[in-house]
């Protein structure tokens, strides 16, 4: 089961649409699990209003989960990850690879996307599929049509339909089967 928790206010229709698209992609039940506050421990002073992605997943409150459940947080504030040798990439979400928790933010969504629109829901769902996929140990995909493609790449925006490529779908099914057993 995938449980979707909002850390900042979202339209219930948008959350419902994300749950529905997650179910279509992974074949697993997905349901809204309410709202929780943003963890203060993860907030960073510089730059203000950003949250450390790793800390947020560790410190955020949780809903009741059983084994193999996944927890997806939705938020609107910016996320922070440490810089690499080439700088910091634009962060649209973060996940515990092979773990249980993932977070998606709409902070870097294109401005033309407005809440309550179909495009916004598709984009949010595609991002959610990517982060939940990482919790099943799926890695980044070179196929632009796939939801596991990097979210800042051109292909991710061009192909709006949230779907996985054959390789990633098979991998996810395998992981889900193994987890269920």
């Amino acid at each position: 089961m995938i449980r979707v928790v909002t850390l900042e206010p979202f339209l219930p229709e948008d959350v419902g649409a994300v749950c529905s698209l997650l179910f279509q992609t992974y074949g697993l039940g997905a349901e809204p699990a309410g709202s929780l506050p943003l963890p203060e421990e993860a907030e960073r002073k510089r730059p203000a209003g950003t949250y450390d992605a790793k800390l947020l997943l560790q410190e955020a409150e949780s809903v009741k989960l059983v084994a193999d459940d996944k927890l997806l947080y939705l938020m609107k504030s910016k996320l922070y990850i440490p810089e690499g040798p080439l700088g910091a990439p634009p962060i649209h979400g973060h996940a515990q690879v092979g773990g249980q928790r993932a977070v998606v933010t709409t902070a870097l969504f294109p401005k033309k996307l407005r809440e309550g629109t179909e495009e916004f829901r598709l984009r949010l769902a595609k991002q959610a599929i990517r982060e939940i996929g990482r919790t099943w140990d799926l890695r980044s995909c070179p196929e632009p049509k796939c939801a596991m493609h990097p979210p800042w790449a051109e292909g991710f925006e061009t192909h709006a339909t949230p779907m996985l490529c054959n390789f990633c779908r098979e991998r996810s099914e395998e992981r889900i089967r193994l987890a269920a057993t």
């Binding site: 992605a53 690499g84 080439l86 990439p89 092979g98 890695r139």
Partner: protein, 330 residues
């Protein structure tokens, strides 16, 4: 495995030398096993395998906590190395951010090259595989095999970068993606890694020597010495051939008829009138034919030589004409 504590990150001064002996390792050390990924050393274990007692280096693969046992004697040969330092990590990102080169079009060559790079275990080699396959994927979807290899190489690279930099796996993945596929409008200075991965030479398959179990080895030098001493090299050749196929010296076969020919030709030259030459030739031919049939019946096994054939026919063989000229000159 989701990241590593920052205090476990590798210091910049450390490089990634190949581990030559198991004594260099301590329990808790992190090493990279080619094609397996980052492992943590547990220590040594004794196990009885097929009746013999062996000591193994026990490691735990961090990706899935699988146990890996390597016989201590094999540790120097499997390419075990320490986790890459910051210098190597910078080289990796320089390589990932460099411009895409034209991909190798022959898939077999590409496959072998990538397999070699992954087997060598150098982090730059793994990055090279990721970069090359990403370049192909930018043009067309990857075939299944190459997609799997891309996934494997990505995992190996992400695991090592996460351990080396002390960051979560998801962050390492984002950093690699950022280097490989920059956001639209990103301008970067052209980058080039300081070095590329080296592929160790493939060991050539050795052909087992075909030798009788009790046979002694003959050194090449000894053989050369035998040459100097004037060994009869034809003897084994004769032994190999059948009794009927033994080669006879050519001189005996050829020279005798030649001498006879010479004498006959000299006589013929002396007696021959110019117009009756044809008649004499015919008569000699008839005589020769009768002689030849007799000879044939007498010695069926004897092989007729060219000179004999020429004699029978009464014609001139090149050798006969040559010998005639020589006789005239003398």
């Amino acid at each position: 495995m989701d990241g590593v504590p920052v205090e476990d990150a590798i210091s910049p001064s450390e490089s990634q030398p190949i581990i030559r002996s198991a004594s260099e390792l301590q329990p808790g050390d992190r090493v990279v096993y080619p094609n397996q990924g980052v492992c943590r050393v547990r220590g040594t274990e004794d196990k009885e395998i097929a009746g013999s007692r062996l000591t193994f280096l026990a490691m735990t693969r961090e990706e899935d906590n699988a146990t890996i046992l390597v016989p201590l004697a094999k540790v120097p040969t499997i390419g075990l190395r320490k986790v890459a330092g910051s210098v190597e990590i910078e080289d990796v990102f320089d390589l990932l951010a460099s411009s895409f080169e034209d991909p190798e079009l022959d898939w077999k060559v590409r496959h072998r090259h990538h397999v070699d790079l992954l087997a060598a275990g150098d982090i730059l080699g793994v990055a090279e595989v990721v970069k090359a396959l990403q370049g192909i994927a930018n043009m067309r979807p990857l075939p299944q095999r190459e997609r799997e290899r891309y996934d494997t190489a990505r995992r190996l690279l992400e695991d090592e970068i996460a351990v080396a930099l002390g960051i979560p796996l998801a962050t390492a993945e984002d950093l690699i993606d950022f280097a490989l596929i920059p956001p639209p409008g990103t301008v970067r200075a052209p980058r080039k890694p300081r070095r590329l991965a080296e592929i160790p030479a493939r060991p050539r398959p050795t052909r087992p020597a075909r030798r009788a179990p009790g046979a002694e080895e003959v050194e090449f030098e000894e053989f050369e010495e035998g040459l100097d001493e004037g060994l009869d090299l034809e003897a084994p050749l004769d032994e190999e051939l059948g009794p009927e196929e033994v080669l006879e010296p050519e001189t005996e076969e050829v020279l005798e008829p030649e001498a006879e020919e010479l004498a006959e030709l000299e006589e013929a030259e002396a007696e021959r009138p110019a117009p009756g030459r044809k008649k004499a030739t015919r008569a000699r031919k008839a005589e020769g034919e009768t002689q030849a049939t007799r000879k044939k019946s007498e010695a069926a096994a004897a092989k007729p030589t060219k000179a004999a054939r020429a004699k029978k026919e009464g014609g001139k063989t090149p050798r006969a004409s040559r010998s005639k000229k020589e006789a005239e000159e003398s």
